[in-house]
């Protein structure tokens, strides 16, 4: 018995339920297409319907995890850590994004794409705080951050492209998180009884 493996499997499981990230990533892409007024998404009701469908998909995937892998409430310490990192991260994200490139008078107005840059940094910090971080977290979130910081984003507002990049990264990371659960706990199987 490896106690560390058991402890980390239990502590990280709630944060590695990665299939939920696939509709969440789609939300980024839908938001970008909505901002750009692409196709039917230019109508508000289509966007709202898409968001409701995405929320329903998230709920269904959450139920899949509960029924095939079980439910866990993370330790209070870990919940506090996750909330603190998220709150601090969102605040820093807003400040950093505005500082890097915005219409604010104090903005550096650099030729970068602030959304993927700061979102990648936030997710890297979040992953490090709650689940490791695993090598794929470093590659995906680090890669997203670097891609946003490469100074090639001069010209038109790159926010929508940034949102699409974030959406794809969220989906890919979710898929790899799910594979991590499968490696640790085995494939989803309906044969186990429920107590």
């Amino acid at each position: 018995m490896d106690p560390e493996r058991l402890r980390s499997a239990a502590a990280e499981y709630p944060y590695l339920r990665g299939l939920v990230s696939i509709p969440a990533g789609a939300l980024f892409i839908v938001a970008a297409l909505g901002n750009a007024g692409w196709g039917p998404l230019e109508h508000d009701w289509v966007f709202v319907t898409a968001v409701l469908l995405i929320a329903a998909a998230c709920a269904a995937i959450n139920r899949f995890y509960n029924e095939h892998y079980g439910r866990v409430t993370p330790s209070t310490r870990q919940q506090v850590k996750a909330v603190a990192v998220t709150a601090a991260g969102v605040l820093l994200m807003l400040v950093a994004a505005t500082l890097l490139r915005s219409r604010a008078s104090w903005s550096l107005d650099l030729p970068v794409n602030p959304i993927p840059a700061v979102f990648g940094a936030l997710m890297l910090a979040y992953s490090a705080a709650v689940a490791g971080p695993r090598p794929h977290h470093v590659v995906i979130w680090g890669g997203l951050m670097v891609a946003g910081l490469v100074p090639v984003w001069d010209g038109a507002d790159p926010s929508n492209v940034g949102l699409v990049m974030c959406g794809v990264a969220v989906m890919l990371n979710g898929l790899l998180d799910h594979l991590q659960i499968v490696r640790t706990l085995g494939p989803a199987s309906p044969s186990l009884g429920r107590g």
């Binding site: 018995m1 058991l6 402890r7 892998y69 439910r71 866990v72 209070t76 186990l192 429920r194």
Partner: protein, 129 residues
Amino acid sequence: MADDELVLDKLVHEPGRLAILTVLSSVNDADFLFLQRTTGLTKGNLSSHLTKLDDAGLVTIEKRFVLKKPNTRVALTPSGKRRVADHWERLDRLKALADHARAAMPSRAPSPSSKNSHASTRFPSGSSK
């Protein structure tokens, strides 16, 4: 170091129960299915171990319905948290003692005549049985 400090808690030391308690020590609570997935125990074995742990006051078991399906939620009690932490601490100390004893032994090259000379030497192996 007093000898009784290294006496293992038999209730906790059983591998199945130790696995359950170790999983529960890193979360607030987990349900029956998750414990089954992480420990690899069968439904009957897990149920039996949980009953023993509940009787000893190391865990609390809450049976409820979630979306009309039965769900059993298990959490460590403060006493359970203390007992499992103490147990892992004792195992670590035993392991350290065993490592120390091994290091203190004179190293000898194995020879055909001496290859069974350590057969009766016993060390705490860290095995959970």
